[in-house]
C-alpha cells in the first residue's frame, strides 16, 4: 500500500530530514492475517568498513553505512528490530569493527548481528564475541522462529595450518576471486546444534534463517556457495514456511528450493558483478532472479542499498531501498510458491540496465 509524500511527512514530522534522505514512502501493512501479526524488520549488510591508517577509513564505504542508518531511522512505523548481515569490517580489525559499531550505534532500535568472513578470519571471531555476541543463536519473535548461523567456516586445515600469520589468512579470505580460497561451510558441530534447536519448533511455525553466505550453491569460485548447504536444507525441509536470508553476494538474488525460499540482501559498500559476467566459468544463478540494474560507477551508491522485510502471512517480502536507483520489492507469492519481483518478474517488463555482460 503506498502513501503519498505529504501524509508521510505529516506522520514523521521529519520533513527536513526526509528531504535530505528520501526514503521509499511505503506504509507498512499491520492488518494481521492468521496467527502471525504483521511486523517488519530492517536489514543492513556488507558495510566493509576499511581502515586506511589511524582514524582514517575509506570514505566511500563509510558513507554507504552512514546513509543506510540515516534512511532506516526514518522508517515509520518503526521496524520491530534490525539485522546486520555480516562483513561489518573489511579485514577483521578491531579499529574497523569499532568504527562500524559506532556508525551502527546511531540506528534507532535493537540490532542483531550475523558474522561474515571479513569479520572472522583475522582473530576467528574473538573480538566479535567480546563486543557483539555469539556467532550463532536463535530467537523467537511474534510467532516466528529466527536462527542466525555462522556459515563462513571452512576446513580446519585451511584455517589453522595454511597461513604464516592471521593477517595472511584474513587477506586470503578477503580476496573474493582467490584461487587459494576455501569453500564456506556451517560445519557438523553447528548443524548438530541447529537440529536440536529446530526439534522443539512446531512444523507450522515460520522459520527464518539468517546467514552470511547463501545456504545454496551458486558459484563456487566467489564463494556464492555453502559446501554443506544440503545438510542445512534437510533440517528446514519439515517446515511449512522456511526462508533463508543471506548477504555476501552484494546483489539481488532469489530462489526457491522445495519449501525453502532464499533471498539475498544488498551491500551498503559496493555491488558485485553477477557470476555470468565472468565469461570463463559456468554458474548456477537461480533462473527466477531478475538481476539488479547494472551499476553506474559514476554514482558511488548506485547498486548498493539496504532493505526492510515484512512478514505478512509468515513469508518474507523484501523491500530493497536502492539509492540513485528504482526501489524494488521481492515477495513470496503463494500462488506460484516462489518469490517474485513485484514489478519486473515478467520478461516483457524488464529493462536494458538489467542486462549484465
Amino acid at each position: 500500500m503506498s502513501m503519498n509524500r505529504r501524509a508521510f511527512l505529516k506522520t514523521t514530522g521529519a520533513g527536513l530530514m526526509a528531504a535530505a534522505f528520501p526514503v521509499s514512502l511505503v506504509k507498512l501493512a499491520f492488518g494481521g492475517e492468521g496467527s502471525i501479526p504483521d511486523f517488519t524488520f530492517g536489514y543492513i549488510s556488507d558495510a566493509h568498513i576499511q581502515q586506511i591508517k589511524g582514524t582514517q577509513f575509506v570514505r566511500n564505504w563509510d558513507m554507504g553505512l552512514i546513509r543506510a542508518v540515516r534512511e532506516a531511522n526514518l522508517l515509520t512505523p518503526r521496524p520491530d528490530f534490525f539485522m546486520f548481515g555480516g562483513d561489518l569490517a573489511q579485514l577483521g580489525k578491531k579499529e574497523e569493527l569499532d568504527h562500524g559499531l559506532e556508525i551502527m550505534s546511531n540506528l534507532r532500535g535493537k540490532v542483531r548481528y550475523v558474522i561474515g568472513e571479513h569479520d572472522y578470519y583475522l582473530d576467528l571471531g574473538k573480538y566479535w564475541q567480546e563486543k557483539i555476541g555469539p556467532l550463532y543463536y536463535s530467537f523467537d519473535h511474534k510467532g516466528v522462529h529466527f536462527v542466525v548461523l555462522n556459515s563462513i567456516l571452512t576446513y580446519d586445515k585451511w584455517t589453522y595450518e595454511t597461513w604464516p600469520s592471521p593477517m595472511d589468512r584474513m587477506l586470503a579470505m578477503a580476496r573474493l576471486d582467490n584461487p587459494k580460497g576455501s569453500p564456506f561451510m556451517v560445519g557438523d558441530q553447528q548443524i548438530a546444534w541447529l537440529k536440536k534447536d529446530l526439534a522443539k519448533i512446531k512444523q507450522n511455525t515460520p522459520v527464518v534463517v539468517f546467514s552470511h553466505s547463501p545456504i545454496q550453491k551458486i558459484f563456487k569460485p566467489w564463494n556464492f556457495w555453502t559446501q554443506d548447504a544440503e545438510k542445512v536444507q534437510a533440517l528446514l525441509k519439515p517446515f511449512e514456511k522456511a526462508t533463508v536470508i543471506y548477504g555476501h553476494v552484494h546483489q539481488i538474488q532469489y530462489n526457491q528450493i522445495g519449501n525453502i525460499t532464499f533471498q539475498a540482501v544488498m551491500a551498503t559498500a559496493w555491488p558485485w558483478p553477477y557470476p555470468e559476467s565472468y565469461s570463463q566459468l559456468a554458474n548456477c544463478l537461480p533462473k527466477i532472479t531478475v538481476p539488479m540494474n547494472r551499476a553506474d560507477p559514476f554514482f558511488e551508491r548506485d547498486a548498493t542499498g539496504w532493505q526492510f522485510v515484512d512478514m505478512k502471512s509468515g513469508k518474507t517480502a523484501i523491500h530493497y531501498q536502492l539509492p540513485d536507483n528504482q526501489n524494488r520489492t521481492v515477495a513470496y507469492d503463494a500462488a506460484t510458491g516462489k518469490p517474485q519481483d513485484m514489478k519486473y518478474q515478467d520478461y516483457s517488463r524488464r529493462i536494458p540496465p538489467q542486462t549484465h555482460f
Binding site: 566493509h48 576499511q50 581502515q51 586506511i52 575509506v58 570514505r59 566511500n60 580476496r175 573474493l176 576471486d177 569460485p221 566467489w222 559496493w270 555491488p271 558485485w272 558483478p273 557470476p275 559476467s277 565472468y278 565469461s279 570463463q280 547494472r294 551499476a295 553506474d296 560507477p297 559514476f298 558511488e300 536494458p352 549484465h356 555482460f357
Partner: protein, 140 residues
C-alpha cells in the same frame, strides 16, 4: 700485389653480403618456431601475471582499495565494449581512460600515463580474463 688486395676486398665484401643475406633470411616474418611461440606466450602471460598482482594490490591508489574489490576476476569491466561513448563523460573513450577513472575515483590515486608498463599489465590481465568474448565496440 694490387690484384691480391682487390681480391681480398672483394672476398670480404662478398662475405659481408652473404652475412646480410643470411640475417635477412632468419628474420623472415613467417619463419618462427614452436619455441618462439612458447616464448612469446610466456612473455605475454608474465605481463598478465603482473597485471593480476596490480589488480589485487592496494598500490595503485592511496586508500588501500584495490580493483578486485568491485571486479572479481576483472568481471564487469567488459573490455570488449571499448572504445565506446562513455555517457557520463560525454565522449568516446578507451578502456585505459576508464581504468584511470577508477584509479582516480574509487582508489583516490593519480592516473597512470597511458603508455605506462602498469597500464599495459592491467589491460593485459583484464583482457585475458575476457578472452573469447566477441568484440562489441560501442556496446552498452
Amino acid at each position: 700485389m694490387r690484384n691480391s688486395r682487390f681480391f681480398k676486398s672483394a672476398c670480404l665484401a662478398a662475405l659481408i653480403g652473404l652475412g646480410f643475406l643470411a640475417i635477412s633470411f632468419s628474420i623472415q616474418a613467417d619463419d618462427f618456431t614452436e619455441g618462439d611461440l612458447k616464448r612469446w606466450n610466456q612473455e605475454f602471460m608474465s605481463v598478465v601475471a603482473t597485471g593480476e598482482k596490480l589488480f589485487h594490490s592496494s598500490e595503485l591508489g592511496t586508500n588501500k582499495v584495490s580493483c578486485d574489490q568491485c571486479h572479481p576476476n576483472a568481471a564487469n569491466t567488459h573490455p570488449e565494449t571499448y572504445p565506446k561513448f562513455q555517457q557520463q563523460l560525454g565522449r568516446v573513450i578507451t578502456l585505459s581512460e576508464m581504468i584511470n577513472w577508477c584509479i582516480q575515483n574509487p582508489l583516490e590515486g593519480e592516473p597512470l600515463p597511458l603508455d605506462d608498463a602498469k597500464m599495459t599489465a592491467l589491460l593485459s590481465y583484464i583482457t585475458w580474463e575476457r578472452r573469447g568474448v566477441p568484440l562489441a565496440p560501442g556496446k552498452h
